[in-house]
Amino acid sequence: MAQVAHDAVTDADLGPFEIEDPELYHPKTFIGKYIWSQDAKVIAVQYGITAIAIGLVALALSILMRLQLGWPDAFSLIQPANYLQFVTMHGMIMVIYLLTALFLGGFGNYLIPLMCGARDMVFPYVNMVSYWVYLAAVLILVASFFVPGGPTGAGWTLYPPQAVVGGTPGTGAGIILMLISLCVFIVGFTMGGLNYVVTVLQARTRGMTLMRLPLTVWGIFMATVLALLAFPALFVSCIMMILDSLIGTSFFMPAMIAEGQQTAYDGGSPILFQHLFWFFGHPEVYIVALPAFGIVSDVLSTHARKNIFGYRMMVWAIVAIGALSFVVWAHHMYVSGMNPYFGFFFATTTLIIAVPTAIKVYNWVLTLWRGNIQLTVPMLFAIGFIFTFINGGLTGLFLGNVTVDLPLSDTYFVVAHFHMVMAVSPVLVVFGAIYHWYPKITGKMLDDTLGKVHFWMTFLGTYAIYYPMHYLGFEGMPRRYYAYGTDTAFMSQSAHTLNEAISIAAIFVAIAQMVFLYNIVRSLTKGKEAGPNPWNATTLEWQTPHTPPRHGNFDELPSVYRWAYDYGVPGAEQDFIPQNVPSEELAAARAKDEGAQGEGKADG
């Protein structure tokens, strides 16, 4: 509930800004403005377009996989080696090059400066370099499709020894390019991440205290902190695997016979790689999830016209989830043969993480409770996210327990779980966020009908894909298999029929994404004019003098008087009060309003 304070303070009384406005880089040419741009908003769009473009490649790969699984041997162009390559590249692209880049590089760049009330990131030049390094990483990854042997087919986890020795597709140039691409990505991300952290901590405008930050910024901020500390683990494992592969060190590679030949490796520890990989890999789940948590909170609050329930709890839950995410990594390794006490410890920490996560889910639902819910397209995606996230989260409770995990490990139950919780859920938020902020980014509204078609096709379609996979997993259908035959004779005939149905659903969902792309492109020219604040939202990005915001974001930096969730405040003239509206203005407006009503009564 908002209390309207009546202290008559004007901007002039507040004293000077501590940090002087940064000297903005003023581009003079088209190339300077849109290509080598140092404006965080342009960089955000560059990140977004690149991430979505490479994401479409991953989408195409998933369809190729589903074609093989639904109608085995019907497509001669999909050989077993190709199938493994598709699995690997689909996973890696989706997790790192699409979701991480889009949430942090895309939404982070666009929203952090605007929502904090800053003119730009603190280090615009480093920010620009960050994007170009990311693009280089993407291009190196794409190059691996065209080298002899093709891209690596080791699975997105790249476990040695099979990622390095012959027999696995892409053990030559493919795996090296993948590892180099990841290292380059991490370097690029670190540059961006430094910017996001320092901008949130140091460049917030007057009155924007930490506890007045929109939850979107909190989510992106904490995810960045996690990424900065966790990505080094991936970097370390990539460097060591490159050395194993290229110059024959034995960090991870044990003594072994590969393709009938004794290799020169000796004594290396594949489990060491798993520890390092998952020390990065589990926080990575939250690097993707925390920005989604933040964004969905803001979308729900805005479109339910109600303040977020339990803001402080939401912030602390984000921080707690971030801290806990570093002590759960070995739950990905229950089948690697670990000490039972070790497993017990990691099962316990894994289940503890459900507490702050559940707090968030309850708070989202309680935000909707008795809200003035507007079923706009962003809101549909946000509500869809709650459903999907609860479903995926609940199966996580199964897999977090060692005894339940052992039989389910490496089955389609796992595939269904992680797709629900960290693929479909964040992607629904990505869509919701694009529908929510597209009007600010372009000045045009996205088409509502196409948006609703996109939502329902995607939401129902993804359920049709992943819900049945749980049953397939219970039946023991192993993941990453090219074909199911004599090795998996235990599978019932109906499982194969189900696979066909899943493939049809996958194609259906892929078509839905074409509707989305068409909407994005069409609305650029034919969309309705959005105006500065089409959702009547409170946060600062909707209060800019120009839409789309110009370089520098604001004419004069705004002063912040309130949190981001003043929706439906009793006594206020409108059902929302922007963060930069001072209290006395409200008081004056109300007095004027009451005066007018009084006169009206007198006349009557």
Partner: protein
Amino acid sequence: MTAALIFLALLMGVVVWWLVRQTINVKPWVASAPQGIQSGVGFLPPSKLALGVLLAVITSLFALFISAYSIRMEVADWRPLPEPALLWVNTAVLFAASVGLQWAWRGAARENWPAVRRGTAVGAACALAFMIGQLIAWRQLTAAGYLVAGNPANSFFYLLTGLHVLHLLGGLVALMKTGGYVRAQAAAQARTGVELCAVYWHFLFVVWLILFGLLLST
């Protein structure tokens, strides 16, 4: 993973403690006029904060390498290699580099530009000498038959020392840029640059002490 866990537990502890301290007893839903200055500023200028964050990332990197080292060491095929005596000399040279930049930092604080120039020159020269010294140590080991892929102990030795030198190389680029500011007598930038470089040099010296200690003790 103990080293990495201890470091990250400490770091996350600090982050959580700081955030809770910032956010406890705050009623975010109460509207009020901003208090005087811009929020969030005052405890460190952006460039120093950025260096702090970068050092946390680099510490995370080395902590993870040390964790990997201690896990890999447990396997039976580990045969420690003799550390060349030259490493003691290199340690002293890196210490001198740190002292040089500390001298420059003090000079910059008092606007004593000749001291800044001498200090940064000593810092840069000693850092270069350290790198050459490390290269010579590598050549001595290679000549003695300790090849990089010969044994995991060798591999880790080359990897850790190489990575440390690469970080120092990055520092030299920053120091060259700072040298430009000093020559141009851009006082504010030179002061900040020298300070950041000095902190970075001290940090890399401490990292080297830890790595050297690890190599000596195993």
